[in-house]
């Protein structure tokens, strides 16, 4: 079941909803963007705010896109080592969007890493990511602008 970012479409679907649509993910995506990277690099990242209007936690487990082989949820780590703060990235199985809450994916924090790029979107391009959520393997397609820095 695919739903689109357009608020009006979601509203229409919800209006028409019945028992069949009861399991539909009620998630909105705001202020999303994808980092433009030079052709010599293989990976990029997507950032956005996910809003969960439903009664149950949602787990973002990954995404699909035409421009890359895979999209994985990542978290930014910080640890003290030899007296300095060392930062890193770690893959996680899912990122939780709490019920009636939000999850912010931003540089320096949790994010979606877009790995093994097949094409290199340029600033100004738009790329579609199909986000995957559990429970129920719900899919939400979003079209995100490509930019060098946060728009």
């Amino acid at each position: 079941m695919k739903t689109y970012q357009s608020g009006s479409v979601i509203a229409l679907l919800l209006f028409c909803s019945n028992a069949l649509f009861a399991q539909e993910a009620r998630v909105q995506v705001e202020n999303g963007w994808i980092r433009a990277v030079p052709a010599s690099l293989t990976d990029s990242a997507a950032f956005m705010t996910l809003v969960n209007n439903g009664d149950h936690d949602l787990r973002l487990t990954g995404a699909e896109t035409k421009v890359a082989a895979m999209v994985m949820p990542m978290t930014t780590t910080r640890e003290m080592k030899d007296g300095v703060q060392v930062m890193g990235m770690k893959r996680v199985n899912r990122l939780v969007v709490p019920a009636h809450g939000r999850l912010v994916l931003a540089p320096g924090g949790d994010h979606l890493m877009i790995m093994s790029l097949k094409t290199h979107p340029k600033p100004g391009d738009k790329v579609t990511l199909t986000l995957r959520f559990d429970p129920g393997k719900e899919e939400v397609a979003v079209e995100l602008p490509v930019s060098l820095t946060k728009p």
Binding site: P38, A45, Q85, V86, M89, R91, T149
Partner: protein, 207 residues
């Protein structure tokens, strides 16, 4: 009457001089946003390769305020953010200060970050960033000199088997126009480009 005039102007002059003197002290006490070292350290003369493949030495930037940071290009998360913030900081500087400020980005990923990769990487950042790379040994030496900690970590999950990331300390080091390492910013401070721009002008003004 004349005596009175002399008295008044004399007092005003004295008051003015006192205020100037006090003001000078206040200027010195003005705090920096950066973590300034109690006494300046020696800035290790880095010898690496720039993005045009030419040999680079930190000493060639003497006379400029250098903002030095370490990272790697296969990092769409932290490093572009730092460079983006520094580009914003640079734009906030008056032209005279811009001419005397230099951002330098050093790669801790000698396997992947060649001069060509560095050139592509720093190009979008207003063209005002010098991107340096080197051999594993040179990078190790440079990192040690500035207290940079970094480690290669295999990345779990799918795709090419040898995917890796580099965990690294993400600080910004300030080397003043006299070639002294005087201060640093931690990662969370780097987002405040406005305060860093003020610091830069303050550093440049003090001799």
């Amino acid at each position: 009457m004349k005596k009175f005039v002399w008295l008044i102007s004399g007092s005003l002059l004295l008051a003015g001089a006192a205020m100037l003197w006090l003001g000078r002290n206040e200027e010195k006490k003005q705090s920096y946003y950066a973590h300034k070292f109690p006494s300046a350290k020696e800035a290790y003369n880095l010898k690496l390769t720039d993005q045009d493949g030419k040999p680079f030495q930190l000493e060639q930037l003497r006379g400029k305020l250098v903002l030095l940071t370490f990272g790697f290009t296969h990092c769409p998360n932290i490093c572009p953010t730092i460079l983006g913030n520094l580009a914003a900081m640079y734009r906030e500087l008056p032209p005279a200060a811009q001419a005397r400020t230099q951002v330098v980005f050093i790669s801790v990923d000698p396997e992947r970050d060649t001069p060509k990769v560095m050139k592509d990487y720093v190009l979008p950042f207003d063209g005002h960033v010098i991107g340096l790379s080197g051999s594993a040994a040179q990078i190790k030496e440079a990192a040690k000199a500035y207290g940079v900690v970094y480690e290669r970590v295999k990345q779990a999950g799918g795709g090419a088997g040898d995917q890796y990331t580099i965990n690294h300390s993400a600080y910004l080091y300030v080397i003043d126009q006299h070639g002294r390492w005087v201060a640093l910013y931690d990662y969370d401070q780097i987002a405040n480009s406005e305060r860093i721009a003020k610091d830069v002008q303050h550093f440049l003004a003090s001799d």
